[in-house]
């Protein structure tokens, strides 16, 4: 990859307070300008913490371990200006008693826009909402969930950031709306040359979005690599199990579906070995004794002792 590196994480981790176990630990990966990284994990895996840490939006009192570097910005990115963030619940980022156009204009003005109200309408058009001038005059409650999330997306784009982080931004929506919004996000990133971090629990959704995939499990990075490789040749048994548990529309009713037995370990539990070992079909004795090292390249490998290609 020849493109300029936007962000580089080296052994990065986050602790929300000194007494708590790390919410995410030991993440090393880099992201080049224009790439789209899908971060996949279930609730409590640390995927949102990772996204917040990259955006510099961690709550006060939390500490970042390791390094998060931004070679392209020459320092920490400014939230909103360098990195735009879309949350799962749009009502959290929208003021219920302010017209959405005014909210957009306010953000645009804060970023030094000369003509914020014109820009607000342009932003609404950019997120493909019908009749932008009329939509600008609407209050959040007059819009549907999908439309509100589009406005939240426009708000994130108002500061003209070079990176967009979408944190489960489509998960609360029904599948039809979700698909359209996910497609829009990809389209916007492509046309504006934005770098995307898309956080999701759905590996199939991630498959259609990302050029790169990172899988997190129980506060650890399990695997990362180019989307094509991860999907066709997963190197971590958890990734493989997620792929197998995907329910497409082509698997007819049978006696059972593919399931991963057991559940993720309590994040507070200190385990000497691999955190997936208890649910892993390939686990051997060493897996429970020591945490697996990283196998493969930094941006294309997995935290597993299985030899490459074993799971193909």
């Amino acid at each position: 990859m020849t493109a300029e590196v936007l962000v580089r994480l080296a052994g990065a981790g986050v602790r929300y307070s000194a007494g708590l176990p790390a919410a995410i630990a030991g993440v090393s990966l880099s992201l080049a300008r224009g790439e789209r990284l899908a971060v996949i994990g279930e609730s409590g895996s640390g995927k949102t913490t990772l996204a917040l840490a990259m955006a510099g939006l961690l709550p006060a009192g939390s500490t970042v371990e390791g390094r998060i570097e931004w070679p392209a910005f020459g320092g920490a990115p400014k939230p909103g200006r360098d990195v735009g963030y879309v949350f799962q619940d749009p009502s959290g980022s929208l003021d219920p008693v302010m017209r959405v156009g005014d909210q957009l204009a306010e953000v645009a003005a804060a970023h030094g826009d000369a003509d914020p109200h014109v820009n607000a309408v342009e932003l609404i058009a950019q997120v493909e909402l019908p009749d932008p001038v009329r939509t600008a005059r609407a209050y959040p409650h007059e819009l549907s969930g999908g439309q509100r999330q589009r406005i939240a997306l426009a708000l994130a784009l108002a500061g003209r950031p070079s990176m967009l982080i979408a944190d489960e931004a489509t998960s609360a929506l029904d599948p039809v709306v979700q698909k359209k919004l996910a497609e829009l996000v990809v389209r916007l990133c492509r046309t504006n040359g934005l770098t995307l971090v898309f956080v999701t629990h759905d590996i199939a959704l991630a498959a259609g979005l990302g050029t790169r995939i990172a899988v997190v499990y129980s506060a650890r990075l399990a695997e990362t690599g180019p989307a094509e490789r991860v999907l066709s040749d997963p190197a971590h048994p958890y990734t493989k199990a997620l792929l197998e548990s995907h329910l497409g529309r082509d698997v007819p009713r049978g006696a059972r579906v593919h399931a991963i037995e057991g559940q993720p370990p309590d994040p507070a539990l200190a385990l000497p070995g691999c955190r997936f070992a208890l649910r892993c079909r390939h686990a051997v004795a060493t897996c429970n004794r020591s945490e697996p090292g990283w196998a493969g390249a930094r941006d294309d490998g997995a935290a597993c002792i299985l030899p490459a290609g074993m799971l193909r």
């Binding site: 279930e42 609730s43 969930g145 929506l173 029904d174 599948p175 039809v176 709306v177 979700q178 698909k179 629990h201 759905d202 590996i203 199939a204 959704l205 498959a207 259609g208 094509e228 999907l231 066709s232 199990a241 997620l242 792929l243 548990s245 995907h246 329910l247 497409g248 529309r249 082509d250 698997v251 007819p252 009713r253 049978g254 006696a255 059972r256 579906v257 593919h258 399931a259 991963i260 037995e261 559940q263 993720p264 649910r279």
Partner: protein, 259 residues
């Protein structure tokens, strides 16, 4: 369907009034459910599928229509008679964190229906709770855990155990796996499939996820704006969808490359 229907709903109609506007939530919906089968009700949000589930359970009062459960006119029942008949038709909600009393324990949740319908004799409660937990794959050691102290998948198992306690012939499942993590979703679906195979419980399975529906449904009903726009066997609906709403739902299922 050749099997006799154990749930027959005809002409279910319900309108909501919001700010002067009249919104039809259900507009003449007919449903037939046979013993031991799974009928999936699918649709986008706002299609009326959740209202349908709640109307059949008498959680939402209808404007018109009839609901027969096991031959009895469910809509004509009231008071103690209705509460007694509720035994036959139980429900599992989307988010188990919201559907279990947050102050309860696993035992109190599962034992409630046993007590309400006097299904066990004094002293037999512990055994009955143990048996129910066993059917949903939870050890009896869980009985005295508070419901906020167990994981999402375990909570949904507790909710299923509660629904099974009255030995219902029908379970209404309102998006039972969409609030769960992918890695536990399969476990819950398998539990539901196993239970149905062993005990011939009929499922009315509300969902917007066609991937999940494909894995569990015998028949599919597609709803849009309070009406049924498509109705057929799962195989037929998935192979050759007729309505645009159904095609749109099918298109929205993300596909993995090479599968």
């Amino acid at each position: 369907m050749s099997a006799p229907s154990i749930l027959t709903a005809r002409g279910l109609t319900k309108t909501y009034r919001t700010g002067g506007r009249i919104v039809p939530a259900l507009d003449g919906v007919d449903i037939d459910l046979a013993a031991g089968e799974t009928l999936a009700v699918v649709g986008a949000s706002g299609s009326g599928k959740s209202t349908l589930a709640r109307a059949i359970l008498r959680l939402v009062e209808l404007d018109a229509g009839t609901i027969h459960v096991g031959g009895r006119d469910f809509r004509r029942l009231a008071g103690a008679e209705l509460r007694a008949e509720r035994r036959r038709i139980q429900m599992v909600f989307q988010d188990p964190a919201l559907a279990l009393n947050p102050r309860g324990t696993v035992r109190s949740v599962v034992a409630d229906p046993l007590r309400v319908h006097s299904l066990v004799e004094a002293g037999g409660q512990a055994d009955a709770v143990a048996a129910l937990l066993d059917r949903v794959g939870l050890p009896y050691a869980f009985a005295d855990r508070p419901v906020h102290g167990i994981s999402g998948g375990q909570r949904q198992r507790v909710a299923i155990a509660r629904a099974l306690a009255t030995k219902p012939s029908i379970l209404v499942l309102d998006e039972p796996v969409s609030a769960l993590d992918v890695s536990v979703r399969g476990q819950i679906l398998n539990l539901l499939l196993d239970l149905q195979r062993k005990e011939r419980i009929a499922y009315l399975f509300i969902s917007h996820d066609m991937g999940v529906v494909r894995a569990v449904a015998d028949r599919v009903v597609v709803m849009s704006r309070g009406r049924i726009v498509e109705n057929g066997s799962a195989d037929a609906v998935f192979r050759s969808p007729r309505s645009p709403e159904c095609r749109e739902l099918l298109d929205a299922v993300p596909a993995l490359p090479g599968r």
